[in-house]
């Protein structure tokens, strides 16, 4: 019964989405006030229906309704309840429903927070979002129904969720990514609405900014969580593998970062208008493209859900219609745009332009690398390999200059072509970064490689220069707005990630060994002593747990407990790495196999400053959050409210007069 209610709610949501799309687009076009009014209840109704549908799916999972194919295929009664809930998005069908549900939440938020914007414009935005929702609901209902029952009736117990996926990192990282992905649909919808309306002044850019920043923030958190999860769950310490699916998340993030910066220019200076429009379309297009690549089976990845070419055809058609439609609008409207103002070569505008160019180049590099094997196969029937070594070189070609420009860019002024007194600050901060960076790398680590010191110097330079302006304002007793604080924080985060990443990559050490109880292995200044193993039992697995004592410079530091787990239902064996985290370094111990007579194969790793990666990502996300709190976005609202009150007062006064 409950699954049928869920499915029925999805069908109703589809009808409401269709109404929202039609009235949202046609209402302003025909100038029908009543049609425009209809959009809002459709948005609310769609949200309620999708919340109900998603609730039904979660209910079926929590109550172990194994007559439902999804539940039988991805959940199990031995699974702890929070993982049963997480199973709702740990598979293709459920994640699609989650996707549209998140879209309905974003749509509702746009409808609720845009009361100060002109109604016809909001209706158009909601209409575009409605079209996207229709596409995804049709896709879900036609090709991947989450509520499909098993033909033979109930089975006794379900398959398990893939054990790799049974982890708290997984429970939260895909939802974050979906919220981020779907969030870019708002920027896309604002851009399309502005093009439909033909009023392409900079106001739409201001309205779009907070939405884009929030979406970007979620994407940042999602990527960091996914990477962190891979790092400590997959057991070999990898955190980024340039896998097609990872790339397909990175591309929207890079474009989103570019979009945030170009929206700022369009909002403040009225420049880059057509470029910003194109970026807004592209950021969301890459989200759709990512969905296509993951779900259609054209690309191979460890992340792939069950793929099916039929689904691929559907998404491709949908992709062609929405992106093709938006790009056609762009061909029609973009030529009307003129930039009134100019700018000098060393102004902030031009640094932001370089930022955009380099970010887009980086995106193209990632896209090219992801697509190359498959295009080579298509055209010449040869297989070529594009792996991490290729990406590591080509990605950093645009990214290194980008990192260097961040520092100079923060000192540059809007419009003005003279660096003037900033020149001294640039020099001082650069010298400080070089001295400090080299001192740390050579003094503390004795690093002779190139990439380590270069990365640390660049990272430090970003951090120092990000701090100069806010500290200066604070010393002069000026207020520091949340926007500036947010930007500062995000840039510091970027600097910290750079420092952590380059130090870790140039200084990490690992060894594969076989140890018997009592034996030990040394890696750098760390000693790992294998004490013993014991059997432990989890809720749905049995595990061998080893006890490893860790010594730093001969002093005992902690006991690490790596496990090798055997999951009963899927009969899968997995290593649960023990990660000892710290500010100086992370140590990882992965338990391999018993190699006879109580001896076990082990992989031990030492990774300096690994934690800075996550810290930097968190700072970036916090920066994004702070920036959205800026008063500018609220002031526009109160100003509009004031205007509305004034208008009401005049009409009232006018009424009294007559």
């Amino acid at each position: 019964m409950i699954p049928e209610i869920g499915q029925f709610a999805m069908i109703l949501a589809l009808l409401l989405a269709a109404a929202q799309a039609f009235f949202g687009i046609a209402g302003p076009w025909r100038g029908q006030q009543r049609w425009i009014q209809t959009v809002y209840p459709a948005v609310a109704g769609q949200f309620v229906m999708l919340a109900l549908a998603f609730g039904c799916l979660v209910w079926s999972l929590v109550h172990n309704d194994f007559t439902v194919k999804l539940v039988a295929g991805h959940s199990n009664s031995a699974l702890p309840v929070y993982f049963r809930v997480a199973a709702a998005w740990g598979n293709h069908e459920g994640s699609l429903l989650f996707w549209v549900f998140v879209l309905s939440v974003w749509t509702l938020a746009v409808a609720a927070f845009s009361t100060s914007l002109p109604r016809p414009f909001v209706a158009r935005v909601l209409g575009v979002l409605g079209i996207i929702s229709v596409g995804f609901l049709l896709f879900s209902l036609a090709t991947s129904n989450p509520f499909e029952r098993l033909p033979a009736g109930a089975i006794f117990d379900g398959n398990d969720l893939n054990p790799v996926l049974q982890d708290i990192g997984l429970t939260i990282h895909p939802p974050m990514l979906y919220v981020g992905y779907v969030g870019f649909s708002v920027a896309f919808a604002f851009a399309c609405a502005a093009m439909l309306e033909g009023k392409l002044d900079q106001t739409w850019a201001r309205w779009t900014r907070p939405w884009t920043t929030v979406a970007w923030m979620f994407l940042t958190v999602g990527i960091a969580l996914g990477s962190w999860w891979a790092y400590y769950e997959l057991g070999w310490g990898g955190y980024w593998a340039w896998d097609p699916v990872e790339n397909s998340i990175l591309m929207p993030w890079l474009l989103g970062t570019a979009l945030i910066h170009s929206l700022a220019v369009t909002d403040k200076r009225g420049l880059f208008k057509s470029w910003t429009l194109l970026l807004a379309i592209m950021a969301f297009s890459f989200c759709l493209l990512a969905t296509f690549m993951v779900r259609s089976g054209v690309l191979v990845s460890v992340h792939s859900f069950a793929a099916d070419p039929k689904r691929g055809i559907f998404i491709l058609t949908f992709l062609a219609l929405t992106i093709g439609g938006a790009l056609s609008l762009y061909v029609w409207r973009a030529p009307l745009l003129r930039s009134e103002a100019g700018f000098d070569l060393v102004s902030r505008e031009s640094f932001l332009l370089f930022n955009n160019i380099l970010l887009v180049v980086a995106t193209v590099v990632v896209f090219g690398g992801t697509m190359a094997p498959f295009i080579a196969d298509l055209t010449r029937n040869v297989t070529i390999s594009v792996g991490p070594p290729w990406f590591n070189i080509w990605f950093f070609l645009p990214f290194l200059p980008l990192l260097a420009l961040v520092s100079i860019g923060t000192f540059a002024r809007w419009k003005r072509g003279q660096l003037g007194e900033s020149r001294r600050r640039i020099l001082v901060s650069a010298v400080a970064a070089i001295v400090l960076g080299l001192a740390v790398m050579l003094g503390l680590y004795g690093d002779r490689s190139v990439i380590g010191p270069v990365g640390v110097v660049l990272g430090l330079w970003i951090v120092i220069s990000a701090l100069v302006d806010p500290v200066d304002r604070w010393r002069r007793g000026l207020s520091v707005s949340p926007a500036i604080l947010g930007m500062t924080l995000a840039h510091i985060g970027l600097g910290i990630v750079t420092i952590g990443l380059t130090t870790m990559e140039s200084r990490r050490a690992e060894r594969d060994v076989a140890l018997s109880p009592g034996q030990q292995v040394e890696v750098g200044r760390y000693t790992f002593r294998f004490l013993d193993t014991q059997q432990v039992e989890g809720p749905n697995y049995q595990a061998t747990r080893a006890r490893i004592e860790l010594f730093h410079d001969g002093k005992p530091e902690s006991i690490l407990l790596p496990e090798r787990r055997n999951y009963w239902v899927q009969q899968q064996s997995l290593a649960e790495a023990a990660v000892g985290v710290g500010w100086r370094r992370d140590v990882l111990v992965t338990l391999g196999e018993e190699v006879g007579k109580g001896a076990w194969s082990l992989r031990v790793q030492v990774r300096p400053l690994m934690r800075l990666l996550w810290l930097g990502a968190v700072l970036m996300a916090c920066g994004g959050f702070l920036a959205t709190l800026d008063r500018r976005y609220r002031r526009q609202r109160s100003a509009a409210e004031a205007a509305a009150q004034a208008a009401a007062a005049t009409s009232l006064a006018g009424g009294n007069a007559t």
Binding site: W236, V300, Q572, E593
Partner: protein, 176 residues
């Protein structure tokens, strides 16, 4: 020519490329039950152990074949290595390795150190053949009958029990 039409043009090309790719994507993929009873997808891939040679999956038709997907990066693969060696010694099936997304040198070193249980090892760097087989990770193993039809799929490690109780009876015609 309107320069604002360039993105649309690039996008159109991409859609065409994707459409062609989709048309060439194998019909059935990934679902374990859907693979069983279906002909095993053919592949011709470079041979790991003989430079310049290739491994053709058709060569193994007429005999039971155990196709094992492995990689040196996969900790679990080490766990089933002993069992694969035992199966090879038993000699009832051809054991074929599909070295999945791996480094050739590392793979050769691994076989040198731990012993080679395979009649042939095909190198699948891109996972081209692996996607035809719906491989989700490593290790995964497929049991293919002499007619070239997939009979069983093992996700994760082949344990001695699994071999004795499930796979071997199939090979000896005692099951089903």
């Amino acid at each position: 020519m309107n320069r604002f039409a360039i993105p649309l043009g690039i996008f159109a090309v991409l859609v065409v490329v994707f459409a062609i790719a989709l048309k060439r994507a194998p019909e059935k993929q990934f679902v374990q039950s859907a693979l069983i009873g279906k002909p095993a997808p053919d592949f011709v891939l470079p041979d790991l152990l003989t430079a310049g040679a290739s491994v053709d999956s058709k060569r193994f038709k007429g005999r039971w074949m155990l196709l094992n997907v492995w990689g040196t990066w996969c900790f679990e693969c080490r766990a089933e290595h002993e069992q694969l060696l035992a199966i090879q010694r038993e000699g009832k099936v051809s054991v074929v390795g599909l070295n999945y997304k791996d480094e050739d040198d590392a793979a050769r070193k691994w076989l040198q150190e731990l012993g080679n249980p395979f009649d042939a090892v095909a190198v699948d760097k891109e996972g081209r053949a692996a996607i035809d087989y719906g491989v989700y990770g490593a290790p995964e193993t497929f049991l293919v009958n002499p007619q070239g039809v997939i009979v069983y799929k093992v996700v994760s490690v082949i344990t001695p029990e699994l071999w004795q109780k499930t796979l071997l009876p199939m090979v000896e015609g005692k099951a089903l």
